[in-house]
């Protein structure tokens, strides 16, 4: 479903702050793969996700989503294939607009915006139904401004919006890192539930080793702009945090010192 071939990216080339963030990353995701992406600060995991989303264009390499090459498509043109949830809960929704306006924007992802009314009344039924699966009561607040919602509610809403029109690949970029410790697991569970229900191909960046182990069917660890570990199937099922730390040291010749990585 997602195929990345030899992706390279250097930010600020030729300057003192030159940063070779992606060094020949190749990765293939089958349909329905739920990959957790882990690594220390500056490992390139969020950059890899941004590269797939089209926030920047790579120096070399290709990205193919569901058989369509998107390497040089601008961000808004490849959005039709992608659902995205960001680290900052403020990023995924428009705060000044109400819930149904936000959902109507997401429902038309990848479609031409014409002069039809922004929402059709029958859509509201669908929105309520999808929101009710969150069990947050948002289905009764369609006309509330999104700015009134808490960070956790906004992330849950963004998850629903990202999957309202089925994406070929769902990109979750540390989407629970900015939430409080009580809310984060709830939002994570909501995401995993939606991913299973819709059998979505997913890439999830996380700082938390335990989350990376307990969610998804495949775990990828990055270091220094390269993929250093790729664990799936039974091996991933049996994985423990201690083993993961040991494997990481072996694979990358460096201590894994991500602040939050050892917690949990």
């Amino acid at each position: 479903m997602l195929h990345i071939e030899n992706l390279n990216k250097t930010f600020n080339p030729g300057t003192p702050i030159e940063n070779h963030v992606l060094r020949g990353v190749s990765l293939h995701l089958e349909e329905g793969d739920y990959v957790t992406l882990i690594g220390g600060n500056g490992a390139g995991k969020s950059t890899l996700l941004s590269g797939v989303a089209g926030t920047f264009l790579p120096d070399t390499g290709t990205i193919t989503i569901g058989g369509t090459e998107v390497t040089n498509l601008p961000e808004h043109r490849r959005a039709v294939y992608l659902g995205r949830v960001f680290q900052d809960p403020m990023t995924g929704t428009a705060a000044n607009m109400n819930i149904e306006e936000n959902m109507a924007l997401a429902y038309r992802r990848g479609k031409r915006r014409g002069l039809g009314w922004y929402i059709k009344s029958k859509e509201r039924e669908l929105y309520r139904e999808r929101l009710s699966t969150l069990e947050l009561g948002l289905e009764d607040r369609l006309t509330d401004k999104v700015g009134l919602l808490s960070g956790g509610q906004r992330q849950a809403l963004t998850l629903v919006m990202a999957t309202l029109k089925q994406p070929r690949v769902l990109l979750l970029d540390e989407h629970t890192a900015a939430l409080d410790p009580k809310t984060a697991p709830k939002v994570l569970a909501i995401g995993t539930k939606i991913i299973k229900e819709l059998n979505l191909t997913t890439m999830m960046v996380t700082h938390n080793m335990r989350d990376a182990i307990y969610h998804g069917n495949r775990l990828i660890m990055m270091s220094g702009g390269r993929i250093v570990l790729d664990i799936s199937g039974d091996e991933k099922q049996k994985l423990t945090v201690e083993e993961l730390v040991a494997k990481f040291s072996l694979a990358s010749d460096e201590e894994f010192t991500g602040d939050q990585a050892l917690l949990g």
């Binding site: 989303a53 601008p74 961000e75 808004h76 043109r77 959005a79 039709v80 992608l82 995205r84 960001f86 403020m90 990023t91 995924g92 929704t93 428009a94 705060a95 000044n96 607009m97 306006e101 936000n102 109507a104 924007l105 997401a106 038309r108 992802r109 990848g110 479609k111 915006r113 014409g114 002069l115 039809g116 009314w117 922004y118 990202a162």
Partner: protein, 303 residues
């Protein structure tokens, strides 16, 4: 009475401009200084065409389109060439002065509303039905304001309008929904400056001349109308915002008219007065907050 009539007619004409300023300043959340250019482009184009005997309605439409091109230039400078929005607007504004003199062929065109050499303006056909000139101006401008307001309201409720409002709010989110934010910014600037050009076209026909320096201070007058409306009427819905914009624009004109009636003020003090009004209106919410909440603040500190 004469003062009120004058304030209402000018207020109505300038409320079209206020809607344009609202679109950039509040919907797109991007202050656009090309307004100063598009108002003289609209006024100059209409004056040149109308004085040349062109149908005034056609001339007004052309003036609106010329206003749109100013928005297009600012939009391209900002989105494609990554020039900061304020600077992009200033560049368009400065260039407009030269362009408008090219269009007019001179720096000043009179449009005599009376006498044997009088020019046919958009208000003339109402005058011919027996209405006074002032009443014709008010009636025609009011119809224009209603038509433009309704069209604008409907547009902001469409898929494209909704995408435009979201673009002003959160560009990253809008891109993730597959919307070309650059196109939305350019479209919004074009509509905004088109409305300002239209306002300029009506203004030149109302006052009976167009001159290249008549646009100075436009953006501040537009902001004054938008902010007076926001301070006086705390409404949130788009249709209510549009109605209060018209009220804000008329109230601004009345304040100015009344102030200029005072003996110690001369017409040249107009711009100083406008700047003071905008500064006060912008500070007012802050002052109200300070005055009404001192008790809560001390409570907070004691904890």
């Amino acid at each position: 009475m004469l003062i009120i009539q004058g304030a209402v007619s000018l207020g109505l004409i300038f409320s079209l401009m206020a809607m344009g300023v609202y679109l950039t300043f509040r919907v797109l959340e991007m202050p656009d200084l090309s307004a100063e250019g598009s108002i003289i482009l609209g006024a100059g184009t209409a004056a040149r065409l109308v004085s040349g005997g062109v149908n005034p309605f056609f001339a007004t439409i052309i003036a609106t389109v010329v206003g749109c091109t100013a928005g297009l230039v600012t939009g391209v400078l900002h989105t494609k060439f990554k020039i900061p929005p304020i600077l992009a607007g200033i560049l368009t504004m400065v260039a407009s002065y030269s362009v408008v003199i090219r269009i007019m062929g001179t720096s000043n065109i009179p449009l005599l509303p009376h006498g044997p050499n009088r020019v046919t303006s958009v208000f003339t056909f109402l005058q011919e039905t027996g209405l006074s000139r002032q009443a014709s101006i008010i009636l025609f401008s009011a119809v224009m304001v209603v038509v433009v307001g309704v069209v604008l309201y409907c547009f902001l409720g469409t898929e494209a309008g909704s995408a435009m409002r979201a673009t002003g709010n959160n560009r990253q989110m809008v891109k993730a929904q597959g919307i070309n934010t650059d196109a939305m910014v350019i479209l919004c600037l074009m509509i905004s400056n088109g409305l300002i050009g239209l306002s300029g076209a009506l203004w030149s026909q109302q006052q009976g001349f167009a001159s290249v320096d008549m646009g100075t201070g436009t953006i501040v007058i537009g902001l004054a109308s938008v902010i007076i409306a926001e301070v006086l009427f705390r409404v949130r819905r788009v249709w209510a915002r549009l109605i209060t914009l018209v009220a804000g624009s008329i109230i601004y004109r009345m304040i100015i008219a009344l102030a200029l009636n005072l003996d110690f003020l001369s017409p040249t003090d107009l711009r100083l007065l406008t700047a003071i009004i905008v500064a006060i209106a912008l500070t007012l919410p802050l002052i109200v907050e300070k005055v009404s909440k001192p008790v809560e603040k001390t409570k907070g500190r004691r904890k």
